[in-house]
Amino acid sequence: MVARSGLDRRAVVAALLRERGRLLVVAGLGSPAYDAFAAGDHDGAFYLWAAMGGAAMVGLGLAQAQPDRPVLLLTSDGEQLMGLGALATIGVARPGNLTVVALDNGHYGETGMQPSHTSHSVALAAVARGCGFADATTIDTMAGVEGLRAVVHRAKGGPRFATAVIGAEPLPRALPPRDGVLLKNRLRAHLGLPVV
């Protein structure tokens, strides 16, 4: 059961992305993408606008292709509930450089704040632990977020999973670019890859 009160999601993401260095970021559709964009746009970030449930697997493909760089996957309770199997796949693939952070407010914020499964019986960190993640925690303090930031920026020791317990209050949207080709090519250019 996730309490209604929780951390400020924007502050959580801003702390994780502070001085991001070599970190690559994939953010799932909706609020995780808004949070990542609000923390400052960056060529090393890829925001999804669709494919709900798929962000974690985009993160896995990227992490496997760039094993020397830390990859942070920002998702939400609603999205990861749609891709629970991806946690099993990541647990088996064991990418040492991938951290999945689920921003968990226990609700579907985009659609009218209906309670999600994590407001009831489901604990995503426990699912991730059962799937074989090297580490899976639930964080509900900013001190905990700071500790998470330190390991998120490491390219070894994963896969890690963290549920960040956030508040459910609505925030102004911060809309990243919606041009998918632009987002794809600027990340590839950031990595020194051809874009034609």
Binding site: L24, V26, F46, L48, W49, A50, A51, M52, G53, G54, A55, A56, M57, V58, G59, L60, G61, L62, A63, Q64, A65, Q66, G83, G85, A86, A88, T89, V92, A93, G180, V181, L183, K184, L187, R188, L191, L193
Partner: protein
């Protein structure tokens, strides 16, 4: 087909286990230059292939035609970002199918892929399989055109029940 995937520099092989793909799956796991990823459901492989491309690697998704239906919404990611996409699909429900429940999705496979903007090429004979993979890899990675090879059920051979 595996040699053609290697020649095309495919570095990630994602799959849902399938008898028709068993040899490719085995060789992918045995090859130190390839990361083989076992999936719980096929749409995971669509998203994985997009992530691999973001990171500079080419990926292929191996699945049965039944799995194509699972991929529909995630294929929107391929279309929206113009990601290269290469899939190899073993067909069910078309030639000597034992299980009638496999027929509806087998019959809809090419239509579903087409509806989401993925081109399809049928492979009917063993001697055309390797060249078809080479051509499809060029179409996907060299031309940004999503494509699926459909390996006919007749090619794969009869099911044993």
């Amino acid at each position: 087909m595996f040699a053609a995937l290697k020649a095309a520099d495919v570095r990630q092989v994602a799959y849902v286990p399938d008898a028709g793909h068993a040899a490719l799956i085995r060789w992918a796991h045995a090859d130190p230059a390839i990361t083989a990823t076992v999936l719980t459901t096929e749409e995971e492989g669509v998203a994985l292939a997009c992530g691999a491309w973001l990171g500079g690697q080419r990926a292929v998704l191996l699945m049965q035609s039944s799995g194509v239906g699972n991929c529909i919404n995630t294929l929107g990611l391929v279309a929206s970002c113009r990601f290269p996409f290469l899939a190899i699909v073993t067909m069910c429900g078309e030639w000597g199918e034992f299980n009638p429940w496999q027929v509806p999705m087998g019959q809809a496979t090419a239509m579903v892929l087409g509806a989401m903007g993925v081109g399809t090429v049928r492979v009917e004979r063993p001697d055309e399989a390797g060249p078809a993979v080479a051509a499809a890899a060029l179409r996907a990675f060299g031309r940004d055109q999503p494509v699926a090879l459909l390996l006919s059920q007749r090619l794969i051979g009869p099911q044993r029940w």
